[in-house]
Chain length 462, copies 2
């Protein structure tokens, strides 16, 4: 693979802005050694199976077991994935990039794949919506939870399973289920062997938000026709490039991690990721989890803000251009978006003022808007990184995904925090257990009632 | 209407956090007079038709003309709205709150309304996706642009119109179009009378982001069965409440504007809005435009961050709880979500540890999670506003929409900025005109090439 996969323009994020908030080349170079050490630490971790670094190995894993399950699933009318957070966002990102934007509305022949529904949020309205659309007898369910005890996932699984069991009995019901969970432990593990469609592991050292290139993200994708092999190929290509890079100026993961660390230290608490392609809208959403949950701890962290061009030019760009200088921007452009549709020159005389649009393609228009927004932000003195991929295909998306996993992990180590844990979500979980009456969580129930009571201490009714 | 529409818990946002960053009651009360003046200024503006304040009148407008167009549109198989920013986000918010989550996948009989597609982004992939799904001969197109010259909207209109014209001729093609635009001026105005389905105005003093209760937001909603009357009723109820309120502690718009202003002044540049209901996901998106574009100017502004519970507990809450104290949170709960589905106790012995979920409803689970997250954020010392609506219905959503319009406008005036303009988007527009070769924008073309060249001054190819 010798094609260019990514082009990264750095000129808008180095040496721009007020003196106190400017990031200079020397500062970046000063971080090269810590970055080199951080990379070594991560790669050693991946070899020894420690520390949540297993994602580094994922592009090299064999796909046979995933493929055999995916083939079975592909024969169903509908696929429902039950999972939340890292067990949902990666799938939604890959589907968004590669499936027809109205996949479920196409005929079976047009889509050449099952319909797909993500059952992530335990909102009864959303779940009932899915139930309205599927024929359970012709639906496969993927249940994905690393720990096997995620409350939302278990609740949704229990409901769907019970409905199937009532209709077809327990054994036949299990014939509609695949479980993706820890290879040895957890509640779902004990069920996994009963899932007649198969069972797939989340490697022990791969955390949810880094699991998109594991069976969690790849199974539904493969069943729906996403070019999974190309994605892994792109990730491997990026990996070999990182290994070969001589110094920070050849290493996209180093340079992006260093830029994010420095801009954050200089008083920019937000990182905006603004793709210019409908197919990358969910990439920003996936990135937001990776970024926030990996880096937000110990009072540190950078807040991911996701945008979409050109839509957010009519929503967020006013703030971006003229608001406070508190964001590092990444504009993510696609060089060629298909199909090649030309904007027609208007046949209507009164519309002559709009004729400047005529005979340009939509692709051109969106590309011009991306460049214009990046240039306007730069002119307004805001730091901007420009990233461009030639097209949305497997290798480019695989490289982009793997790059951002590296950037996130390296940024965490530069900031001096562990990018692979999430201690801050435990409190809310314990409170929920308490409110739901789970045995052993009585003190949490008392505490959450007290804390929540404090929120209502002053209440306004309308 | 004597039901409670909104409950606002303030205890988590007053008197909490470190001394330097704490907002005290007296500070809020100190803002009462400026807020009273700001309200008077806005209400006077609305009466005299000045200053973008026309949204204040919208809940009182007659719906007859919208209804008559909506009835015609409702007979089509599909409706495509062509519009971007304020001409799209309000519609998407109302549809999200009131339509089936998989509206387009239902049969005509089930949905009792046309399919709906939003053609906002000029990405050819998304547009081709819509084109694949519609039968143009049975499709109505709503073209919404206040100025009548929005590049994206004009380009998309020209394409669809030309395709229809080629098939059925110009006159019949116009029979599929409704135009919503300025009542007197602009490019679309000259076409409006040709739109055989009708034409509706955006009042001159109503800006895009404040236009959801105008024909821009209401036409498609009415055609699809959204309870538009109830929404306006809720907005009017909120309005009368604001008029009757004696002092800041009875005035939800005053108190929320004051809290946002003070928390922002004390070093919290972000406002997180986190609804706990699938049907309010797009409310946060609509709010993000209203907030960012109204308040982000002159180096000031607060960045809206949109989240969704419970999903973002598995994505953003780690950062929210343990990251920097740089956000004011609003958790937006719904007291009753339907349908009343119970999580079944598991029939499988091995799943006994999950039995604490059994016989609770999904509604209960999500409500417990909302309260737990709000309480956990409070315990972590982060400021939290708690808002609860009894259910997702017309009056509650109308009150919520109108409340946030007031909060946004008042916050702008408290911050000393004009919340109704958006000068910061002009630069990017001129650059796009330049790159697209529009006559008269040659200097902009030269400048954008220079600025953009700067972004690529240092480039890394992967």
């Amino acid at each position: 693979m010798r094609d260019t996969l990514l082009k990264i323009g750095l000129g808008g994020a180095i040496g721009v802005g007020s003196k106190a908030m400017r990031v200079e080349e020397e500062e970046l170079e000063f971080l090269e050694l810590p970055l080199r050490n951080a990379e070594a630490q991560l790669r050693t971790g991946a070899e020894t199976g420690l520390d949540g670094t297993g994602w580094i190995r994922l592009p090299y894993e064999d796909l046979e077991s995933v493929r055999s399950v995916a083939e079975k699933i592909a024969a169903f009318d509908s696929v429902v994935q039950i999972g939340i957070g890292g067990s949902a966002l990666g799938n939604l990102m890959l589907h968004n990039a590669f499936l027809h934007p109205y996949h479920n509305e196409l005929t079976r022949k047009e889509r050449e794949a099952p319909r797909f529904y993500m059952a992530d949020n335990p909102d009864p309205q959303g779940l009932a919506g899915i139930w309205d659309c599927i024929d359970p007898a012709r639906t496969a369910f993927i249940v994905a939870s690393k720990s096997g005890s995620t409350a939302e996932t278990m609740a949704i699984f229990l409901w769907f399973f019970e409905e199937l069991r009532k209709v077809m009995g327990e054994e036949k019901a299990f014939g509609h289920f695949v479980f993706i969970t820890d290879p040895d432990e957890g509640l779902l593990r004990v069920l996994a062997s009963k899932g007649a469609l198969g069972t797939l592991p989340v490697p022990k050292d791969v955390g949810g938000r880094f699991s998109v290139l594991s069976p969690v993200g790849l199974l539904s994708s493969m069943a729906l026709g996403v070019p999974v092999e190309g994605i892994l190929e792109g990730a491997r290509h990026l990996d070999s490039l990182l290994k070969e890079a001589r110094g920070i100026w050849e290493n996209p993961a180093f340079i992006l991690a260093a830029l994010h660390t420095l801009h954050s230290q200089k008083g920019r608490p937000m990182a905006v990721l603004m793709p210019y392609a409908d197919g990358l809208e969910r990439f920003a959403e996936w990135h937001a989890q990776l970024w926030a949950e990996s880096l937000g701890k110990e009072g540190k962290g950078s807040t991911p803000v996701r945008a979409l061009g050109a839509i957010d030019q009519h929503s967020q760009v006013q703030l971006y251009a003229e608001g406070p200088d508190d964001k590092l921007f990444t504009c993510l452009n696609v060089e060629k978006r298909g199909p090649h549709w030309l904007i027609p020159p208007s046949p209507i005389r009164e519309l002559a003022p709009a004729n400047y649009l005529g005979n340009h393609s939509f692709d051109e228009l969106l590309g011009c808007e991306a460049r214009s927004t990046a240039a306007a932000l730069k002119k307004a003195g805001k730091p901007v990184i420009w990233i461009e991929i030639p097209r949305i295909d497997g290798p480019c998306i695989g490289a982009l995904v793997f790059l951002y996993e590296w950037v996130t992990a390296l940024t965490g180590l530069l900031m001096g925090i562990n990018p692979f844990d999430q201690p801050g979500v435990e409190q809310g979980k314990r409170y929920t257990y308490g409110l739901m009456g789970r045995a052993g969580y009585e003190p949490d129930a008392a505490e959450v009632l007290r804390e929540f009571g404090g929120l209502l201490a002053k209440t306004l009714m309308v």
